[in-house]
């Protein structure tokens, strides 16, 4: 655990594949993060705090000042006690003088207390403020990183895990400045300076006053390791539990449809019991370590009282000095109790920080290459040149083999093929959601890997097979790609997608809120919103990935008509299982197992009497007997 993972350390993250493996190595096994030792993580957090040098300096200064003023209090109290007993420094003084001295002491106490309060405020506020500033920085960095990391990264990590990192882990880091760093400074000052004062007053008594510190330090370091492990384990188990709850709620229709409520609760119980075991363990560990530490503290106090008492009896010490020692120990009580928190904070910060930094350090597998230029689209011709691809990287099961085709502007290529043949994969490669493992894709002769991502993705529009809708108004959903679009553009897009009639019938029209992920829409309505979203935008390459599967033929036909004009200026790829949609494509590609097995226009493919022709036959013939022996033969 101390050193980085040997497999990945020192190797710069490369493409999406290595990245994904790193994501697995670095993240899923949360017990082993790549960010070096705990200390390295903590230093890095401190480094973040040092961005706010001035504040940090003020906070640390205030912490030191607060502890200094706090340390003065026992001395004043002790003097006051001695004064009251009229035996300052062993010599009896006149009561009048003593009274004056008492008044002075009282004023000093008041003054010191005020200063102590003021500096404590500065110290705590400073700590909190820096914490929140760091949290703000990290939040933005985290968000930006997430938006930047490629699809293969997101494929490899559960969204719940990411949310945990962005919320809980970030909290852990945030708290560290105040509950960790500054408290450590405070404790060090109190123990250091106080120790010097006490030891120089009375060596034995001083030693006794501090006798609990090494014990507590040892106990807390033991507890630290244990709590850290428990933290990790708990975090993981709560993550699993959260995932079960989340998926249960997301998949509520499946759960209900199968009457699986009891099954789901069973699943929940297994995970919850698992988590509870760890949670209990954590509480027990915490309880035993804090109570033992407090006990050690009180033992020290008792010893001071005893030995100090004997000294007073001997006459070698005044009651005032004894009070100084006892008060000093009292002052230490809170920080020592907080040592538990400090330990917790250190453990938490190193764990959380490690997980967070692992993510922030990832390089997106897909990004602008050095010297990338904006894509310049003139003719808008698109071409795949012997493209091969595998989701799990070179050596993994290949999904596309040597796929080549071209689409000129105003032309349409249709893709058909059985499930899993790689159709959506082709759509995913064009906007560089993934990069091919070999071969290249060009637009007007420019390798898309040499173009800037922003310009590429602006030029290429994909209507996804399962579109994501936002919990927002219909108009915000339609205008997602161009938030500055005016009402007219939105209405045009909606009418292109044949959704305007439906929207018009709603009481709130375009302002109607769409339920989470479009629950309040029918399947075809969702798809039409997705089509409208793409129709809003000017682009040079349009890809429809089976985006009319839930739309009836009549509506589909109308959409196709409406899209005719925009498609004249685009290279279009239509993926569809309904051959009617591909009838007029300039070329149709039949994909199977990632290979192009047939290609040509509709007529030639039908004439070729191959797979396409068989598909076509199935869809177009009004057969009375579905189970013809021929087809059955083909099925086997």
């Amino acid at each position: 655990m101390a050193t980085g993972n040997p497999k990945t350390a020192g190797k710069p993250p490369g493409d999406g594949i290595t990245l994904r493996q790193q994501a697995y190595i670095g993240m899923s096994q949360t017990t082993d993060h790549r960010n070096g030792t705990d200390a390295a993580v903590l230093w890095r957090i401190i480094g973040l705090a040092l961005r706010y040098k001035f504040r940090f300096a003020v906070a640390v200064g205030a912490t030191i000042a607060a502890s200094a003023f706090q340390l003065m209090i026992p001395r004043f109290l002790g003097d006051a006690v001695d004064n009251a007993m009229g035996m300052l420094s062993g010599t009896s003084i006149a009561p009048a003088l003593a009274r004056e001295a008492l008044l002075d002491a009282a004023l000093l106490l008041l003054g010191v207390s005020i200063l102590r309060g003021a500096f404590t405020l500065l110290h705590n506020y400073g700590g909190e403020a820096i914490g929140h500033l760091i949290a703000y920085d990290l939040r933005l960095a985290f968000y930006a990183k997430l938006q930047e990391l490629s699809f293969s990264f997101h494929d490899g990590i559960h969204s719940g895990e990411l949310i945990t990192r962005g919320m809980l882990d970030l909290e852990g880091v945030r708290m560290f400045v105040n509950t960790g760093v500054l408290r450590l400074v405070l404790l060090t000052c109190l123990i250091g300076a106080g120790g010097y004062l006490l030891l120089s007053t009375d060596l034995l008594l001083g030693l006794l006053s501090f006798s609990f510190v090494p014990f507590v330090a040892w106990r807390s370091s033991v507890a630290r390791l244990r709590l850290r492990a428990l933290w990790l384990a708990l975090q993981q188990r709560m993550g699993t539990l959260g995932q079960i709850m989340d998926e249960n709620l997301s998949g509520i229709r499946v759960v209900r449809a199968f009457g699986a409520e009891r099954y789901e609760v069973g699943k929940y119980d297994v995970a919850a019991d698992d988590a509870r075991l760890i949670a209990d363990e954590r509480i027990k560990t915490r309880a035993s370590s804090t109570s033992v530490m407090t006990f050690a503290y009180f033992i020290a106090m008792g010893l001071v009282l005893w030995v100090g008492g004997l000294r007073v009896l001997d006459g070698t010490m005044t009651v005032g000095t004894l009070t100084v020692f006892l008060t000093f120990i009292t002052i230490l009580q809170t920080p020592v109790r907080q040592l538990g928190l400090l330990v917790n904070s250190l453990a938490r910060a190193s764990t959380c920080g490690g997980r967070l930094f692992d993510l922030l350090d990832l390089e997106p597998g897909i990004r602008d290459q050095p010297g990338a230029k904006p894509l310049s689209v003139s003719k808008g011709a698109l071409s795949f040149e012997e493209v091969s691809f595998a989701y799990s990287g070179v050596g993994g099961p290949p999904v596309l083999h040597d796929v080549s085709f071209t689409v000129a502007r105003g032309r349409t290529v249709g893709i058909v093929g059985p499930p899993g043949s790689g159709k959506s994969t082709i759509a995913n490669l064009l906007p560089r959601y993934y990069d091919p493992s070999s071969g290249r894709i060009t637009i007007d002769g420019q390798d898309i890997r040499h173009a800037t991502l922003a310009s590429l993705r602006q030029a290429v529009r994909v209507v996804q097979q399962d579109a994501f809708l936002f919990t927002a108004s219909l108009e915000n959903n339609i205008a997602y790609g161009d938030p500055w679009a005016d009402d007219g553009m939105i209405q045009d897009a909606a009418s292109t997608a044949q959704i305007d009639g439906f929207v018009g019938g709603l009481p709130e029209g375009y302002g109607t809120l769409v339920g989470e992920r479009g629950v309040s829409l029918s399947g075809g309505q969702k798809q039409r919103i997705a089509i409208a979203r793409a129709a809003m935008l000017r682009s040079s390459v349009l890809i429809f990935d089976d985006s009319t599967a839930a739309i009836d033929a009549e509506t589909e036909q109308r959409i196709r008509e409406a899209l005719k004009t925009p498609m004249q200026n685009c290279a279009t790829i239509i993926i569809s299982h309904r051959l009617g949609a591909l009838r007029h494509a300039d070329e149709i590609i039949f994909l199977e197992g990632g290979r192009i097995v047939e290609r040509g226009d509709h007529d030639s493919l039908v004439a070729a009497k191959g797979r396409y022709a068989a598909l076509f036959n199935l869809q177009s013939r009004n057969e009375d007997d579905l189970a013809t022996p021929d087809i059955q033969g083909a099925a086997e």
Binding site: H158, A613, L618
Partner: protein, 626 residues
């Protein structure tokens, strides 16, 4: 304020990140809500005994805390400063001290452990209760609920209740400590005690001014937290769309605004949180000053033992701790009450569709389905199904066809009683679906939903899902029928391949096949296929139909499809339009009728008409040969 990337248009963008549904108004209510407490008691009751022990431990712990300055006082006055003091008394004091700290140790351990464990367990119970409840609340409620917000109730709110629980017992300790200190000070020396306590009213007044403002600031900080986190969650879930639509910059700017608001709110709340520190310290200083001046004078005059003065000084230093923590507790309690209200709000959502007490749970059903004059809608005054009547006899397969949004999926939802009809009734075997238990409906109706949701987990677990009795063979059998077996076995881990979130490492068609297989494994009398093959090519579909034909024997089937080739073999086709049934009949009859169905059908194939029959005939045999 908004720092969106520059754009030509002067108007604000139509862009938001995070949910648009207004955030939970945090109820800005009492720190004590009788109703919440009463509800809460139900969950605490099982741990009654433990709580009593914990309370006792807290009291013992507090008493020990109180005793320590007294022992010091005793040691000073009785053992140290009197004439001819002897060591025995000191030893006795030390012995007493030792006993007290051992007790303190035991009590502190017991308290921490019991309080912690009880809090933890109550919270786990509560979370489970919520989760259980959510399994049964009305679907209409779930449709309107954002998962993120529900999760924040299941996690965040539950945690703040836990904090409250853990604290509430220490609060008891704090109260005792406070009163104990006051009582002891007054007992030790009444006048000095009163004088010392004279600083307390100042504290109370300052707090009174401070509290409402501080509470507002704290609340704002929490609100901005949930807003920011909500936006983050959305960013994570939608990341593919965001990248695809090039919305990174806009979203980042919008998120930045939220994060900045959050920062400002937190800085403000930190200021308020710390503002009381110097006040308390000043008052502590003042109280100590009083003891030093007045007490010191009394000691000088021999009217007060010096040990009492020392004890006072000790008590003063402890005195403000409970006050401080009590005010913190106040906001914890307030937050807990708000959380409690939100939690119990969930627990109170009526189970609109609860099983009747005498609901039927038959082992077998025949599978006769009837819709009788059903009217239904999701929003008031906007009916989606209007006076729908039809019947499906056992063993029959009926297809639902119609333009998008015509209400096909809604019909299947009603059959399964996801929603309650407005009017009319749905029956299975002549018995209203409301008279079946939900478990019975779940067992006898298997559905392939339009949206093929899969769980994180292996393919095997996904296909088997809740059908515990299904063996691996059954699962493979179902996968074979839907033609998924081949691609599954081609995967490196076969049936044990782990699916990532929502099965995204499979193609959509593959997911649909798994969802199909899942319904087959469930082996139910009624099978509902809602666009089960929409994302699957016709050839694979045909293979499925061949296998399915056998499986459907003796079962009742409801099939929805837009690709009419999928449904033309159905016994009967029901054509829906805008929530009405417009036509019913077999494929041939409907084509002959020349209505909506005939039109849709013609549209599907119009473009193919010019293909000569013999070409197609050849195509079939060619396919058969390959």
């Amino acid at each position: 304020m908004t720092t969106l990337p520059d754009n030509n248009a002067g108007r604000p963008p139509r862009a938001v990140v995070g949910s648009q549904i207004s955030q939970d108004e945090e109820m800005f209510g009492a720190a004590f809500d009788g109703q919440v407490i009463r509800r809460f008691r139900t969950y605490v009751r099982p741990y009654r005994r433990r709580i009593y022990v914990a309370l006792a431990a807290v009291l013992v712990f507090t008493a020990a805390q109180l005793a320590i300055p007294l022992i010091i006082r005793y040691a000073i006055d009785e053992a140290l400063v009197i004439e001819n003091a002897d060591g025995n008394l000191l030893s006795m004091a030390i012995a007493a001290f030792a006993i007290v700290i051992v007790i303190n140790y035991g009590a502190s351990y017991l308290q921490d452990r019991l309080v912690g464990l009880t809090g933890e367990h109550v919270i786990f119970d509560l979370r489970r209760a919520m989760f259980m409840h959510l399994q049964h609340v009305a679907m209409a409620f779930m449709d309107k609920t954002e998962i993120g917000r529900m999760m924040s109730r299941l996690q965040g709110d539950v945690n703040s209740l836990q904090e409250f629980l853990e604290n509430s017992i220490t609060v008891a300790g704090d109260v005792v400590l406070l009163f104990g200190i006051v009582a002891i000070m007054l007992l030790l020396d009444f006048k000095l005690g009163l004088l010392t306590l004279s600083v307390v009213p100042t504290l109370l007044i300052v707090r009174l001014i401070w509290l409402p403002r501080a509470r507002l600031a704290f609340r704002r900080a929490r609100e901005t937290n949930s807003i920011t986190n909500g936006a983050l969650a959305e960013g994570i879930h939608a990341v593919r769309t965001v990248q695809g639509m090039g919305r990174e910059a806009v979203n980042f700017a919008l998120y930045g605004d939220k994060a900045r608001e959050n920062l400002a709110a937190h800085l403000r709340s930190a200021k308020f949180a710390q503002a009381m520190v110097p006040v308390v310290d000043t008052l502590t200083g003042a109280a100590m000053g009083i003891v030093v001046v007045v007490g010191g004078a009394l000691v000088l005059d021999d009217a007060l033992d010096v040990g009492v003065m020392v004890a006072f000084l000790f008590y003063i230093q402890r005195f403000f701790d409970p006050i401080r923590s009590l005010t913190i507790q106040y906001s914890v309690m307030q937050r807990a009450m708000a959380s409690g209200q939100r939690i119990f709000e969930v627990l109170e959502v009526p189970i609109a569709i609860a099983d009747k007490p005498d609901a039927a749970d038959p082992v077998e059903i025949e599978g006769d389905i009837a819709f009788n004059n059903v009217t239904f809608g999701y929003t008031r005054d906007l009916p989606v199904l209007k006076d729908i009547s039809f019947a499906v006899k056992r063993g029959e397969t009926v297809a639902l066809v119609g333009p998008t949004g015509s209400g096909k999926t809604s019909i299947t939802s009603l059959l399964h009683r996801f929603y309650e009809v407005w009017d009319g009734g749905v029956t299975i075997d002549g018995r209203d679906v409301r008279d079946y238990t939900k478990a019975a409906l779940g067992r006898h109706i298997a559905m392939v939903l339009q949206d093929p949701f899969l769980f994180t987990g292996s393919i095997l677990e996904n296909i088997r899902y809740r059908t515990k009795g299904a063996s691996r063979d059954d699962v493979e059998q179902a996968a074979r029928v839907v033609g998924a077996h081949d691609f599954i076995t081609a995967l490196p881990d076969g049936y044990d391949t782990e699916l990532i979130q929502q099965g995204r490492n499979l193609s959509l068609g593959q997911r649909q096949l798994l969802s199909f297989a899942r319904a087959l494994v469930a082996d139910a009398k009624i099978l509902v296929l809602d666009e089960a093959t929409a994302s699957i090519d016709s050839y694979t579909e045909r293979q499925i139909q061949i296998g399915l034909a056998r499986l459907l024997e003796g079962r009742t089937g409801i099939v929805i499809a837009h690709r009419l080739a999928t449904v033309r073999g159905a016994d009967r086709i029901i054509v829906l339009q805008e929530g009405h049934i417009v036509e019913t009949g077999t494929h041939d009859a409907l084509v002959a009728e020349g209505g909506l169905y005939a039109r849709l059908y013609a549209l599907n194939y119009a473009s193919f008409d010019d293909i000569p029959e013999d070409v197609m005939q050849d195509a079939i045999s060619a396919q058969a040969r390959t």
